[in-house]
Structures are given as C-alpha cells and as structure tokens.
C-alpha cells in the first residue's frame, strides 16, 4: 500500500480520472468543469483525456444541471454533476430532494438515480453570505440522499471513488479551505469502508465528533489540550448518510463525555442530530450534556475578522473542553 503525498484537490481529480477510466458511463457535468478545469481546479486537465462528451461544460443553469443529471442517471450514464458552490443548493433542491432523492421510492424501486453531486462549501475566502455556507444539514434531513464530507486527501479519493459505484444519489461536499492541503495518502486502500467513521486521534477524556475541515481544527485543539494533560478522542464521520453511530457510541461510552463540532449554523443542523443521537443512545454513560460547538446562527459576514469568528475556532474548542472537564 504505497503512500503518496498529494493535495485534497489532486486526490479528487485522481478519483474522477480513475473513476472515469474504470467506468465509461461516468460523465462530469457542470459550469466550467471542462476547459476551465473547475472553479477550484479539481477537473483541470481532465478535458485532454476525456473530451467534451464526458466533461460537459454547461450554461449557468443549476436547476437544469441537476435535472439533466437525474435524467441521465436514469438512462445509463453515471453523472457527476458539479455545483460550483454549495450555496447554490437553494436553486436545485427541487431536482435534488424532490426528484433525485425520491425517484426510486416513488416508482416503487423500479430504478435508481446513481449520480454524484459534487460541490464545495464553508468559509475561508471572505466570499460572503452567498458563497460561504455549510448546508449539509438540508441534505442530511432529506431521506434518499447519501452525504459524504471528506476531511483528508485520502478520504477525498476513496469516498469519491466509492460514490461512483453506489446505486443512489450522493451529495459530495468538499471544503474550499482544504483544496491546497497536502498530505500523505494511500490511494490503493481506504482507511475505512464507506459509511464508517474513523478515530483520528485516541483519548480517554472526551469524544469529539466532527467531519470535514473541522476535523483539522479539532485535531489541533486536541494537541493543545494534550499539553494540558487532557486527551480527547477525535472522530471523523466521513459520511453523514450513512451515519456510523457505532463508532461514536463506543467512544462516548468509553469517555463519558461528548462534544460535536460543525461549521454549519447551530440550530437544527448536523450538530443537533449528532447531539440528539448521542444523548439518546448513551444516556447512562454521559457525565455531562453533549456540547455542541457550531457556526453562529447568522449569515456569514464578508469581513475576514467577522467571518473567522463566526465559526468554531480551535481556541473555543480548547476552552470549552477544559470547562467541561472542570465541571
């Protein structure tokens, strides 16, 4: 299992490339995915290998992009539709949640919609309220949609490859601040199967459950806490549907304390679901309430200072864990 140093962006590109080589029905469809190479460079250079019939540049018509992918997925292709920003979900939720997610069910199981909706979200570029959101909560709340949110290059690769084999629609949300992150990755073997969480760091004092970029913020916080003698376990969920509660529950039962961290706005989001599940499944083991550290319940401001203060910070995680353990 040779490890190789690679960026998150390049790992995604490799996954698309390998997936397209392995399966001729895979097509990429979206704005600027072809000649331009993707707004964040993920599909760069793929055009040379796959040409315009498989890397399909579209007009700026998000609802139709997703709708066309749905129809193509029902008739023999396996489209990877790209939404340039997750913030544009508002334009496509009908095609995604009313069509892609429900077609198999409404039609009594006759056919599925094997497509991937690749997109990216999160803060970090002062891109403002309409280009910086974390909207995975809407997706997680929609039965019928799988949801993957890789934190590492290795997961970016394997989760995307696996998404390209699933019978159902997968929403695949990358983080705009991770693309240039470089790390060692084993592209031959995934560290865990699809749908399983990974314990990124072990520790007996508290279970911190998170995903996507917040995994790295949490790991950095864990290092700081370790210097103060506190060892927290950091769990990277990798996929939010399926949701691997077994790994989470085992950790909480062992540590007796749990924190969930999400960049998305606090109220009625992913953090709420995780906190609710942990609370109901681990009630007798919890010494403290499950603490949610999530985005503020506000639109994302453009000022860099306000933007970075509007989502969970390493410092807040550290301070909150310390207070929990002091309680």
């Amino acid at each position: 299992m040779a490890s190789t140093e690679i960026t998150y962006r390049d790992a995604l590109r490799r996954a698309l490339q390998d997936g397209m080589r392995a399966d001729e029905t895979v097509v990429v469809i979206g704005e600027e995915v072809g000649a331009y190479g993707g707004a964040y460079g993920v599909t760069k250079d793929l055009m040379a290998e796959f040409g315009v019939t498989r890397l399909i540049d579209t007009p700026i018509s998000e609802p139709a992009i997703v709708g066309v992918a749905v129809g193509a997925a029902m008739t023999g292709l396996r489209p990877v539709a790209e939404l340039m920003y997750v913030d544009f979900l508002g334009l496509v939720m009908d095609q995604l949640a009313n069509q892609a997610a429900k077609i198999r069910y409404m039609f009594g199981g006759q056919i599925g919609v094997p497509m991937v909706l690749r997109t990216q979200g999160g803060t970090g570029r002062s891109a403002g309220a309409q280009h910086s959101q974390s909207l995975e909560g809407w997706i997680m709340h929609t039965p019928g949609l799988r949801l993957a949110m890789p934190a590492t290059a290795e997961d970016a690769y394997h989760l995307l490859r696996h998404s390209l084999t699933l019978p159902d629609p997968v929403v695949f949300i990358e983080h705009k601040s991770l693309y240039t992150r470089k790390e060692m990755a084993d592209l031959d073997t995934p560290a865990a199967p699809w749908g399983k969480a990974i314990v990124r760091r072990q520790g007996g004092d508290l279970a911190l459950v998170t995903y996507s970029r917040m995994v790295h913020v949490a790991l950095a916080a864990a290092e700081m806490l370790s210097q103060a003698g506190i060892e927290i376990e950091v769990i990277d969920l990798r996929t939010l549907n399926p949701l691997d509660m077994d790994t989470v529950i085992a950790s909480v039962e062992r540590t007796g304390r749990a924190m969930v961290v999400s960049e998305g706005p606090l109220t009625a989001g992913v953090a709420a679901e995780l906190a609710a599940r942990i609370s109901e499944e681990c009630f007798d083991y919890l010494q403290d309430p499950v603490i949610r550290v999530a985005g503020e319940d506000i639109p994302i401001p453009v000022s860099p200072e306000l933007e970075s203060a509007s989502i969970p910070t390493q410092a807040l995680i550290v301070a909150t864990v310390q207070r929990m353990l002091r309680r």
Partner: protein, 338 residues
C-alpha cells in the same frame, strides 16, 4: 409490447381507451377506492397523447406531468396496473407508493410522471444526453402543460438541448388552463413556438382536436430530434373537466365549457372514420363496448387488490443491496431497552 399503429382506426382506439380509462378513474374516486383526490383527468387531451405516442418508437422514452394517464396508455401501459397504482395498491406500477402523479415504467420507457410542474422536463434532456453518449438512436419526449411554460426550468432545459444538439422533443399540452387560471392570465403571449425558436429549437403549434395533424407534426419534429435538432410543439386542446377531482371549475362559464368540449378529438376521429367509410356505427360501437369492458375490469382488479405490506414502507428508499432506514419502532425499542 404492442406498438401504437399510426392509422386513424388505431388512433381512435387509443383515444377511446384513454377516454374510457379516465372515466373509470373518476368512478374509482367516486367509489372511494382511489388514493386521495389528486387525480387529473386528461379527457379532451386524447389527441395529443395518441398523436405523439404514435410518432414515437419502442426505444424512445418520455416523462409526463401530473396529467399523464393518457400518454402512458398510448405508449402501451397496462390499464389494470395503472388503476391499481391510482388506488395505492401493491399491484400497481409503483407498488402503491407513487399513485396517479408518479406512475412510471422503465420497460415502456416511461421515466415518470411528476407532481412538480415542470419537474420532469430536464430529465428528458438527461436521457437525450445518455442516448447521444451511448450511441442509441432513441429520442426522449417531455410532456408538460401550458402552466409549465412559465417555469424557468423549461428554458434552461430547451437551451441545453439546443446547445448540445440532443434528441429531445418538448411537448406542451395547452389545455388552456392551469388550475383555475386561463392561460391568458398567466402570460401575455401564447405564441409559445416563438419562445422555443428563440432558443434555437424547431417549433410548431398544432390543433389537438386533429389527431392526425398532431401525429404528423410530431413525426416531423421527432425525425429532427433523432438527427440532433431538438423540437418543441404546443398542442392546443381543452381541459373538459375540473383540475382535480375536487374542482368544479367555478371560475369558468358553462358556455365556455360547452364550446370547449366541442373540441373533442375522439368524436372528431369517429366522425372521420364514418365519413371515410373506414368504420360504421356498429363496428365502432362494438369497439367502444369492448374497451368499456376492458376498463371496467381495472376497477374490479383494483378493488380486489391488496394494500402494500406495512414494512414495504422502508423499502426502495435506497438500492436493494443497501441497508434500509431504521424504523422508528426499532429505534425506540433499542433506546428504551437500554
């Protein structure tokens, strides 16, 4: 699959089967056997369904709007399984999960009826993309109402089809109404062909009372679509009855209805058959009676059919090899057992 024949006797037969089927749907509802009241009859629109279906080939696919019973029948549907689906029964096309507004059948190329106005339109563009990429010579036909002419998604879809030269035909069944809104209260101009042309499609308008004209227009545009020039056609007709089963159409006059119902493609085809000497009253009456019996049977079939099993609710959310969602009862058992 019996291929729809293109001569007038066959077109008449198709239209009469649609008319009679829809009358039985009304009966199903009246007898309390339908799943809900959101049943949209296509009576008055048989010319569009039969004419366009006759221009399609076995490999072609299509999506419909919520008023799609007739189109699917014209494409070869089993009326019994349709009626069972409308009744929410396990023997229905979608195992009772979809109902009237979500009937689909992959074996007949029916990619689905849709309860979102305009929702199924981009799917035929996607199908066209598949056919182009996979080297099929099929086309895909999107059926929708005049109401969808004001949904932006239609224009995005037409634009893509034109840009990529896809084998797609867009069909607007203009029955003059979207619920209680006559089309002239929804848009200033009903020259819908101009809209399609402005996006680069071949376009035509045709009178849906004349099933042969519909068929010929569809054949021409379908041939273009098959060659990579997507088409659009608007078929003018009249919605004979209310929008759904609860709607008594108080927003239009009896006079308007009387005049509208004179635009009857079934009656016109019958008259043509008689005047051309292709049929006589006796033979046509016999055919109608045969169809009536066939359609009566769909109600009996539905009445006798079983409801879906309770646990089937959790099936078909994800692919068959995937774990099913955890039922609430199971989850509560687990948590409360702790």
């Amino acid at each position: 699959m019996t291929l729809p024949n293109t001569n007038l006797p066959e077109l008449y037969r198709t239209m009469r089967r649609i008319r009679t089927f829809e009358e039985r749907v009304a009966e199903l509802y009246a007898r309390g056997l339908s799943a809900g009241s959101m049943l949209h009859l296509s009576i008055g629109e048989e010319g569009a369904a039969a004419g366009i279906a006759a221009a399609m080939r076995p490999q072609d696919s299509f999506t419909t709007h919520h008023r799609g019973h007739g189109i699917f029948l014209a494409r070869g549907a089993d009326p019994g399984r349709m009626m069972a689906e409308i009744g929410g029964k396990a023997a229905g096309y979608c195992r009772g999960k979809g109902g009237s507004m979500h009937i689909a059948d992959m074996t007949l190329g029916h990619l689905g009826a849709n309860a979102i106005v305009g929702g199924g339109i981009p799917h035929v563009v996607g199908a066209g993309l598949s056919y182009r990429n996979l080297g099929s010579d099929a086309i895909s036909v999107g059926f929708f109402g005049d109401g969808a002419m004001q949904q932006g998604l239609l224009y995005e879809s037409m634009n893509m089809a034109a840009l990529w030269n896809l084998p797609v035909l867009f069909v607007c069944i203009n029955n003059q109404y979207g619920m209680g809104t006559r089309i002239d209260r929804a848009t200033r101009s009903v020259e819908f062909d101009r809209r399609a042309e402005a996006f680069g499609l071949s376009a035509a308008m045709v009178d849906g009372e004349d099933v042969e004209a519909v068929m010929e227009t569809a054949q021409r545009l379908a041939a273009g679509a098959r060659a990579g020039q997507p088409g659009f056609m608007a078929v003018s007709c009249f919605r004979f009855f209310g929008h759904g089963r609860m709607d008594k159409s108080p927003y239009r006059t009896e006079e308007e209805e009387t005049i509208g119902r004179k635009r009857d493609p079934v009656a016109r085809a019958r008259d043509a058959l008689l005047s051309r000497g292709v049929g006589d009253h006796a033979s046509l009456d016999a055919l109608d009676a045969e169809i009536a019996a066939e359609m009566d049977a769909t109600i009996d079939f539905t009445a006798a059919a079983e409801s879906p099993a309770a646990l089937s609710m959790f099936r078909d959310v994800y692919g068959a090899d995937q774990p099913e969602p955890e039922p609430l009862a199971v989850r509560l058992d687990r948590i409360l057992a702790a």
